[in-house]
Every structure is written in structure tokens, then in C-alpha cells.
Amino acid sequence: MNDISIRVENLAKKYDIGKAKCRHDRLRDQVAHSLKSVFRRNGRPHREESTFWALKDVSLEIRRGEIVGIVGQNGAGKSTLLKILSQITEPTRGRVEIYGRVGSLLEVGTGFHPELTGRENLYLSGAIIGMKKEEIRRHFDAIVEFAEVGKFLDVPVKRYSSGMFVRLAFAVAAHLDPDILLVDEVLSVGDAAFQKKCLGRIGNAAKGGRTVVFISHNMIAVNSLCERVIWMQGGEIVEDGPSAEVVSKYLAKSGEGTNVSEEVWDEVATAPGNDSVRLHRVCVRPVDGSPSDPITICTPFVIEADYWNLRAGAHISLSLLLLNEQGITVLNTFPVIEPVWFKKPHPEGLFRSRVYFPGNLLNDGMHRILLLVVRDQAEEIYSHEDVLVFNVQDSPERRSDWHGKWVGAVRPDLRWETELLEGSDALDKKGVILRGEP
């Protein structure tokens, strides 16, 4: 009971869309509107009162030292929740209790003025986000070092590159030492090395016993930093639990709209195909699972296709192209060695072909399947684009410290070996100048 950091009880926030629509931005319009309504016939008020509830009855408790991630689609209410916790906007109903000093990072570079130098902006921004002058002075050198702006410190910020700007802005924010840290997707700016620094910083803050609440769309970062994740949707909390679990459910659900992991066509007459072959069913699933189970980069999975062969004696086989999000063809696979039906004439009937994909081959992201039916391994009889669309989820297991987007059409798990060939005495003899510790 006595180490709660944040307690939220039945929080609700309403925005008046109706009023905003016929809200008059100018006094003269407002006056005209009021006059008109005086003269309106029947005294019927012309008012579209439509309201939007950004938050509907949200309750939660966060204990001291917890690192909580908040995920959800855009418009779910995450930022609104953080704004209320930061006292930027007021709740319509409900109550929040906060124990400790709050530091909010809702944006990088809050308070920066382009005409001022880096040094001046450092002080200004520090003061704005809540640091005392003495604090800023104490951390001054550390901030400058973190930002790596060096000799540009006394140059007006409008001359900075966007990278420098972001580094300085975050450096200031990173040295804010609150009991509770609220972060809203600020890490989507900057290059990969910088993002790693930021995440490291946030992680350190958390280890120091601070409470961290972190909104992000970067599931890798969320998974690796947070122990607990809250999934919000439509202004309500949908899930609240251990990060791996909730993130997995969230990813599965968000792929749902576009994912096609299974499709069935019962009627031969209307099934896709032609007079030679018709598709009955296609699905993609983990080897020991069902089409609704999630697939990660480590999961071995299988693609199944059931099809009717309508011509007796046909030498047909399937060929499958796998494409990724960028439209690149990752691979093309067809049965080269297949034990039973390869190169044999097929009778009329319903066939099932399966192709097995090992885990740790594919990169993460959305993938689509182009299915081909081929005669005599060369002639294409039928093709079906996007017959399956599925998401391969990333997994923090094989990531170590790297949190950025992994490039490459595939991501196989290859064997690496490293050994020490020559020690420093051997290098010494060769006259190589050694520099010691970096």
C-alpha cells in the first residue's frame, strides 16, 4: 500500500467535437451566431452535440520502481493519459494520485528557441522541464558530453543539424532526475546509435528505483525495457500484464485486419483456379499449432495448400514465392525432392501439399505468399497472389543490445567464431603502436 507511485481511479476525458465544429474562432462569428440564435424560429437550438471520450473509466496502479510500457493504436488514449498525468490537461472525471516528482518527456526540445545558443537553450530547457538552476549547473558537463555537441555549444541552435538538435534536447531531458518518468515516443527520432543511448538511459533510470511509464510503438524496446505492459484501445485498458504476453497478443490482434493465415473455399465450382486445378484451402501455421497462433522469427512453421486436381494424369506441382514488406522476393521454393508424388502423374482428386520453413530463417515483418501451380516443373497453369499474408514477429531472445530495425530479406542464424591470433607482445615486436584503453 505504501509504495504506490501512481494511482488512477476511474479516469475519463471528454472532448466536445460538436462544440469544436461550430466553435467560432473569431469573436465576430460568435457574436453573429448568438444573434442568429436569438432570432431563430421555434427557438430550436442548432447544436450538434457530439462528444468524443478519449479516456473512458481507466483505473490502474503503478508501484514505485516499476517500468510500465503502454501500447495501442493511434487514438487509443495513451497520450491523453500521459497528458493528464503530466497535468497538461484536466480530466473530465476521476482522480489521480501521484507520489513523487514527475518528469515528462512528451517531446524532444521543449522550450528550445532557435535564436539562442546551445548553452543558453540547455539552461532554458532544463528549467522548463523542471530542473533547478543549481541542478543544471551540476549536470552541465555531463549533459554536454552526452549530447556530443562540443564546440557547437555557443552557436545558435538554428544552425544545428537535426541530429545535433535532438541529441542536445534529449541530453538535457536525460539528466532530469524525477521519481516518476513519463516518456511518450520521443525515441522515434534520431539515428540508431542515439536511440540505443536513450534506451540505455531510460533503463538506467529504471534500475535506480524510479518509476517509468513509457509509450512506444517499438515493440522491441518495450519488450526489453518493460516488465509490465498495458494495452489500451478506444480509451480503455484491454490488457495489463507481463510484457511478453501482452505484446504478443497486441501484435497478433493488430495484424488481424490484414492477416490472412487461413482461407477455405468449399465449392469446387466457385473456388479460385481454372479447369485444371482449383484451390480448396490454404493456411500458414506454426508446426505444432493452428493458423491463429503467432509466428515469431524463431518459430518453425508450415504452409499447407489443399487443391483439387481436375485432370487425370496431370504432372502438376506447387511453387511458392515469399515476398516481404518491401515487395522483395525473399525466396522461391518448389518441391525438388518430394518423396511421394514428385514427377508422378496425379489422378483426379483433392491433394494436400505442405512446405516446411525452419525457424531462424526469416526476418521479422509482414510476408505474403504468391502461390503457383506448375505443370512439368516449367509451365505455369495457375497463379494466386497474396493468397496468404502473415506477420513474422520479432523476438527479443536473439537481440542482445540492439534495438533497431534489422535489415535484410532474411535473418538466418549463422555460426560465428572468434579467436585471438596474436597477443599484444607479438604486436609490440612488429612495431604496432598500442593505445591502451579507449
Partner: protein, 282 residues
């Protein structure tokens, strides 16, 4: 099982809930954030003088030119009296507090809209915003005050001991600017055309204040009504403090001050009432 004595109920640092009370000054929060007030004022001043080639001299040039024009038109042409004092000094002495006031008013009224990027991203007592905007005009005032002293030396006018009352009248000007600004700033957030009204308001107000003419030209029967204008008391008092000419119209000053204080209190209440919706509406 928890014993009641073991359960320590800590007092929350902050409780956030929909505000109901009308009058909540929360001066404690203002005090806690006093350093931020300093930084915001400092920022305004630096930015004002940084990139302008004219920079500081504009604070001097502008009232000087106005003084010349006023002297030509109001004194030479229209023959308006000036309480037995050289008109240029008379006008300049009126222009100083007036310029401070109108600058503080204009900046104050626009300050909230101008700080929209802060309001939507970070928390601090919003009263700091109009407060901080009165700092840069104060610096301008100091520069032109030096020029006033030079002018007085030129015309061989020695300042009187009433000089010590100067800060008092300046304080009154500050309060008037704040009071009006606190009403206009939230209105400007809601209705953006208010921002266009302000320069016009300022001009009209100037002619309704004893900047280019002394209060003595106002007929007796209107004087009470005239002194409802808070700046009337301020400018007359300013001149009296400097030159000792005539007795200060204490009645005028007293009425003006009560008006200002009422305006200020109302302004604070209105501002505090509106500030909870700034981030949503801006």
C-alpha cells in the same frame, strides 16, 4: 494480514482531479516555479536584443521620434499646454510609462498563444507566462529612462525627491498591464481575432490617457470619470514624482488604483478558470 498501524498512508505529492473551486490562487506553486519565471523573462530579453542590429537602440529611438512628432503636432500646431514645462520633456516623460504599459499589455495578451508549444507539452503554473512577458519591456524602460535623465539635464530640470515614488507608479503600470493582459490572454486563445483588437485598443487608450496632454485640460466635471482610467493616475503620478509640478491629483490616483486592483483580482480568477482548457483549445 495487515495491522492498521502498519499501513502508513503517505500523502500524495499531487492529486489531479477536475477542478471545482472558483478561486484558487495557488501562490505556493508560483513560488516553487520562481526560477522558471526568471528563465522565461531572461529568454525574452535575450531574444529581443540578439539578432537585431538596432537592438537596444530601438528602445531609445522609438520614444524619441514619437516625442519629436508629438512636439511638432500637439505643442507647436495645436498649442496644447504642458503644465508649465518644456513640451518635449513633458511628452517624453509621459511616453516612458506609457510605452512600458502598452508593450507589457500587448505581449501579455499574446503571450499564451505564443507559448502554445510549451502549454501542450509541459506543466508549470500558467500564470508565469503573462508574468514573464512584462520583463522585456521593463528593460526597454530602463534604457529610455537614461535618455529621459539626459533630456532633463539638457533642459536644466532637476528631479525632485518625489523620484523615490517612481517605483510605486511603475508598479501600478505593471499591475494595470497584468490585469488587462490576464483578461485578454485567455480570450485570445479562444477567439483569435482578439489579437487584432489589441493594437487598436492600445492606441485608443493612449489618447484617453494624459500622455500628450496634461490632466488639467480635462474639464472638472469630467475629471472623476476620466480618472477611472488607471493609466491616468500612473502617468500623472509619474510626472509629479519626477518634476514636482502641481500637486498630484491624489483623488485620481486613488480611484485609478482601486479600479486596477479590482480588475487584477477578476483577471486572476478568470485566467485560472480558463487555464485548464488552454491545452485543449489552443
Amino acid at each position: 494480514m495487515e495491522l492498521a498501524s502498519e499501513r502508513t498512508t503517505r500523502k500524495p505529492t499531487v492529486v489531479i482531479q477536475p477542478t471545482k473551486r472558483l478561486l484558487q490562487l495557488d501562490l505556493a506553486a508560483l513560488w516553487r516555479y520562481r526560477e522558471l519565471l526568471y528563465f522565461m523573462a531572461w529568454r525574452d530579453i535575450i531574444v529581443r536584443y540578439k539578432q537585431t542590429a538596432i537592438g537596444a537602440s530601438w528602445a531609445i529611438v522609438q520614444p524619441l521620434i514619437s516625442m519629436i512628432i508629438f512636439t511638432l503636432i500637439f505643442s507647436k500646431l495645436a498649442k496644447i499646454p504642458s503644465d508649465g514645462m518644456p513640451y518635449p520633456v513633458f511628452a517624453f516623460a509621459g511616453l516612458l510609462p506609457w510605452t512600458y504599459f502598452s508593450q507589457a499589455l500587448t505581449r501579455g495578451a499574446n503571450s499564451v498563444v505564443a507559448s502554445s508549444n510549451l502549454i501542450t507539452k509541459i506543466y508549470f503554473p500558467r500564470l508565469l507566462i503573462p508574468l514573464a512577458s512584462t520583463a522585456a519591456p521593463a528593460v526597454d524602460f530602463l534604457f529610455s529612462f537614461v535618455v529621459l535623465l539626459v533630456l532633463m539635464a539638457w533642459y536644466h530640470i532637476a528631479p525632485t525627491w518625489g523620484l523615490l515614488a517612481l517605483p510605486l507608479f511603475l508598479g501600478l503600470a505593471f499591475i494595470t498591464a497584468m490585469a488587462t493582459g490576464l483578461w485578454l490572454a485567455p480570450l485570445n486563445v479562444k477567439y483569435r481575432d482578439v489579437g487584432y483588437v489589441i493594437p487598436f485598443l492600445s492606441q485608443v487608450w493612449m489618447y484617453g490617457s494624459p500622455v500628450v496632454y496634461p490632466v488639467s485640460v480635462i474639464p472638472e466635471k469630467w475629471r472623476l470619470f476620466y480618472s477611472l482610467n488607471p493609466m491616468a493616475g500612473v502617468i500623472e503620478g509619474f510626472r509629479w514624482a519626477l518634476f514636482g509640478k502641481g500637486s498630484p491629483h491624489f483623488m485620481v490616483i486613488a480611484i485609478s488604483s482601486s479600479v486596477i486592483l479590482a480588475l487584477l483580482l477578476g483577471g486572476i480568477i478568470y485566467f485560472r478558470h480558463s487555464e485548464s482548457t488552454f491545452a485543449d483549445v489552443i
